[in-house]
C-alpha cells in the first residue's frame, strides 16, 4: 500500500472523491495542505479574496449541480470568516464540505496564534463536524464528511485538521474507503406505503387541492415526478422561494410562488384550499404568516426527508418521511392504478375561482415614464437570456423582483439565500456557477447595498476569467429596509440610505472589467443587449431604478395567508 503524509492523503482523498474545484484561502495552519495541493494538478484551487466568498462559491456550485462543494481555509480568522457562508448553506440544506486548518493538537486550548474552537463555533450551523485526531484517519473522515453532507437532508460538514495531522515527513498507509455506513445515521430511503396510500385517497377526494412544493423538489431532483403527478391530478402548483423552477413557471398549472411576496392567486388558493400536498417544504414563517390563522380548512399531507421538518410549525394530517422523488413516484403509480379519479367537476370550479383571483390581481406593477422600474429590468433580462440563465441574487427587494419576474422553467437555475437571507451571497455564488458552466449565461441580480458586501471578489473574477453579468438594481437605499420603514415606521429611514456610493463603473474598470451605467429608460434594452453580447467580459450594469418602488404583494404582518397589501394603497 502507498505511504502518504496526512496532507497528501487529504488531497488524494479529494481526488478519489471526484472533486475538481476547491475554493479557499491559505494561511499558517493550512500550509502543509497547500503544499500538497501544489504538488498535483487534479484538484484545482480557486483563490478568493475573503473566505466567506469561498463558501458561497462552493454553495453556488452545489445549488446548480446538486453535488457537494468544497472549501479549504486556515484556522482562526480563516475559519470564522466561513461561518456566514456555512450558516447560509445550512439553512437551505446545501451539501458542502469545509476543510479548516487548526493549530497543532499539542497547542489546542492554549490560545495559540490563530486558534479558534471551530468545532464549537460551527456546531449550531452544520449538519455535522469532524475533527482529525490521527493522520491515518484522514481518508475515512473525508469519506464520512461527503457521505453525511450529500445524503438525507443535505447540509454543510466541517472538518477541523490540526497542523500536526498533515506533517510532510510522517507517512501512513493510504486507502480511500469505497463505502460508508454509520450505525447512527440512516436517512429514510422510501416513504411508508400505507401513509402514501392514505395521502393519495385524500388527494383524489379533495375539492380544492393545492400542491405546495419547496426546495426539497430541487435538492431531491424530483422535478420530473412533480410535473408528472401534477399533470395527472390537474392540481394547481405553487412553489416556495427555494422551490422556484422545481415546477415550470410557464406550465399552465403553475400559479407562481407563495408567501410574504408570493402571488395573490397562490396565497388565496392556499388559504381557501381543502387539501395541501406539501412536497419538500417546511412551512417557514415567510410562507405561513400567522400560524394560528394558517389555511383553516385544509388537511395537510407533508412529504419530507427530514422528520423534524414535519409538524414543526404546522401539524401534518398525513406525514410521509422519505425522499421526495421516490414518494412522488409511488404516488404516481397509485393514482394511475386507482379506480377513483380526481373530482373533475370540483376541479373545474376550483380553477375558475383561481383564474378569477389571477384576473383580479396577477403579478403586475405600475409603469413609469420617468423611472426605470426594477421589475422591467428583470423582465428584460429574462427576455434577453431566453429565460434560461442561471440567476443568482443577493437579499432584499431586488431578490424578490428577480424571483417574481424572471420565469424559471428549470430547477437549479434560481440561486438565492432563502433561509438565512445573506447579503453578499450573489456574486460569489454566480462565480462558482460560471466556473463550472463556462458556456452558460450567469446573471447576478443585486443591489448597491448587497454587492458591496463581497465586492472584493471582482478581483477573483479577473484572475480566473469569470465573465458573469452583474445587474445592480441601484435605488440608492437599502430598499427592503426602507420599504418596511415606509410601511411600519412612518417613513423614518433609519440607516437605510446608502450615502456616498462609489462610482460602480469606475470600480468595475479598476478591477479590469466593463462597467455600464444605465439611468435612462430608453437605454435599458440596448445596453443590456450590448452587455450580454460581451460573452467573455464581466459586465457590471449599474442601473438606476425607481427609488420609491415597493415589493408587492406583501402579506400583512400577523395576518393569515390571504391578508395582503397589493400596492401602497390597496389592502385585501
Amino acid at each position: 500500500m502507498e505511504l502518504l503524509s496526512g496532507a497528501d492523503m487529504l488531497i488524494r482523498s479529494l481526488q478519489d472523491e471526484g472533486i475538481e474545484y476547491i475554493y479557499g484561502y491559505p494561511g499558517g495552519a493550512a500550509l502543509h495542505i497547500y503544499d500538497a495541493l501544489f504538488r498535483q494538478d487534479k484538484v484545482k484551487h480557486i483563490l478568493v479574496r475573503h473566505e466567506q466568498a469561498a463558501v458561497h462559491m462552493a454553495d453556488g456550485y452545489a445549488r446548480a449541480t446538486g453535488k457537494p462543494g468544497t472549501v479549504l481555509v486556515t484556522s482562526g480568522p480563516g475559519a470564522t470568516n466561513t461561518i456566514t457562508g456555512i450558516a447560509t448553506a445550512f439553512m437551505d440544506s446545501i451539501p458542502m464540505v469545509i476543510l479548516c486548518g487548526q493549530v497543532a493538537s499539542t497547542l489546542i486550548g492554549e490560545d495559540a496564534f490563530q486558534e479558534t474552537d471551530m468545532i464549537g463555533v460551527s456546531r449550531p450551523v452544520v449538519k455535522h463536524n469532524l475533527s482529525v485526531r490521527h493522520p491515518d484517519e484522514i481518508p475515512e473522515v473525508v469519506k464520512k464528511a461527503y457521505y453525511i453532507a450529500a445524503t438525507g437532508r443535505p447540509g454543510p460538514v466541517v472538518i477541523d485538521i490540526p497542523k500536526d495531522m498533515t506533517t510532510p515527513n510522517e507517512r501512513y498507509e493510504y486507502q480511500y474507503p469505497k463505502k460508508m455506513k454509520l450505525r447512527s445515521y440512516n436517512p429514510a430511503i422510501r416513504g411508508h406505503a400505507g401513509q402514501i396510500k392514505k395521502a393519495v385517497d385524500m388527494m383524489v377526494a379533495a375539492k380544492r387541492p393545492i400542491i405546495y412544493a419547496g426546495g426539497g423538489v430541487v435538492l431531491g431532483k424530483a422535478s420530473e415526478q412533480l410535473i408528472e403527478l401534477a399533470h395527472m391530478l390537474g392540481f394547481p402548483v405553487t412553489n416556495t422561494l427555494m422551490g422556484i423552477g422545481g415546477f415550470p413557471a410557464s406550465d399552465k398549472q403553475s400559479i407562481g410562488w407563495l408567501g410574504m411576496h408570493g402571488t395573490y392567486e397562490s396565497n388565496m388558493a392556499m388559504h381557501h384550499s381543502d387539501l395541501i400536498l406539501c412536497v419538500g417544504a417546511r412551512f417557514d414563517d415567510r410562507v405561513t404568516n400567522a400560524t394560528e390563522k394558517f389555511c383553516p380548512g385544509a388537511r395537510i399531507v407533508h412529504i419530507d426527508i427530514d422528520p423534524a421538518s414535519i409538524s414543526k410549525t404546522i401539524n401534518a394530517d398525513v406525514p410521509i418521511v422519505g425522499p421526495v422523488d421516490s414518494v412522488l413516484k409511488e404516488m404516481i403509480g397509485l393514482v394511475r392504478e386507482n379506480s377513483v379519479k380526481p373530482d373533475e367537476e370540483a376541479l373545474i370550479a376550483w380553477w375558475k375561482q383561481i383564474d378569477e383571483w389571477r384576473a383580479f390581481h396577477g403579478m403586475r406593477y405600475e409603469k413609469s415614464d420617468t423611472y426605470i422600474k426594477p421589475q422591467e429590468v428583470i423582465e428584460a433580462v429574462w427576455r434577453l437570456t431566453n429565460g434560461d440563465a442561471y440567476v443568482t441574487s443577493d437579499v432584499g427587494q431586488h431578490q424578490m423582483f428577480a424571483a417574481q419576474y424572471y420565469k424559471f422553467d428549470k430547477p437549479n437555475r434560481w440561486i438565492n439565500s432563502g433561509g438565512l437571507g445573506t447579503m453578499g451571497f450573489g456574486l460569489p455564488a454566480a462565480m462558482g456557477i460560471k466556473l463550472n458552466f463556462p458556456e452558460h449565461e450567469v446573471v447576478c441580480v443585486t443591489g448597491e447595498g448587497s454587492i458591496q458586501m463581497n465586492i472584493q471578489e471582482l478581483s477573483t473574477c479577473k484572475q480566473y476569467n469569470l465573465p458573469v453579468k452583474i445587474v445592480n438594481l441601484n435605488n440608492q437605499a437599502l430598499g427592503m429596509v426602507k420599504q418596511w420603514q415606509d410601511m411600519n415606521y412612518e417613513s423614518r429611514h433609519s440607516q437605510s440610505y446608502m450615502d456616498s456610493l462609489p462610482d460602480f463603473v469606475k470600480l468595475a474598470e479598476a478591477y479590469g472589467h466593463v462597467g455600464i451605467r444605465i439611468d435612462k429608460k430608453e437605454d435599458l434594452e440596448p445596453m443590456l443587449k450590448k452587455a450580454f453580447a460581451m460573452k467573455d467580459k464581466l459586465v457590471f450594469l449599474d442601473i438606476y431604478v425607481d427609488p420609491h418602488e415597493h415589493v408587492y404583494p406583501m402579506q400583512v404582518a400577523r395576518g393569515s395567508m390571504k391578508d395582503m397589501w397589493l400596492s401602497k394603497t390597496e389592502r385585501v
Binding site: G120, R123, P124, S184, P307, A308, S311
Partner: protein, 163 residues
Amino acid sequence: MRRIISVLLENEPGALSRVVGLFSQRNYNIETLTVAPTEDETLSRLTVTTSGSDKVIEQITKQLNKLIEVVKLVDLTEGAHIERELMLIKLKATGSQRAEIKRTVDVFRGQIVDVTTSVYTVQLAGNSDKLDAFIQAVGTAGVLEVVRSGVSGIARGEKVLSL
C-alpha cells in the same frame, strides 16, 4: 409535562456538547442531565429530564435523532419505567438533632455515610420527589450542602434500549 428521555450516544469527544448545544440553541429546557459510558465502551448512555408541550417534546426527540452521534433514544415516560436519583447531603447534626436525623434517614431508607461531631453526610437514592421530600423533612435550615446526580432511568419489564 415532565419527560425522561434516554439516549444511546456514540462515546466520542464532542458528542455531549452537541446534545447540550441543541437544547440551548432551540430553546428547550434541561432540568437534569446525566451521562456515563455503558458496558459497550463505544456507547454512552445519557438521560435528560425536560418539560414541554407534546409538540415540543416531539421536536426534541426528532432533533436529537437528527444528531449524527445519537444512535437510539426512547422517551421513558411513554411507558412503565423506573427512575432513580442519587443525593449526597450534608446536615448539621448536634445534640438532639442527631437522633432525629438518624430516624428520618431510616424512614427514607437512606444511609449515613460520613460522620463528624457536628455533621452527618447522608446518601439517599430514589425518585426526585422522594429526595425533595427528605430535604423538606429534615428542614432546610439544617442543610449544609446538597449534591444530586440527576435522574437515571430504565424501562420496566422486557423492554431494553440497546443496539
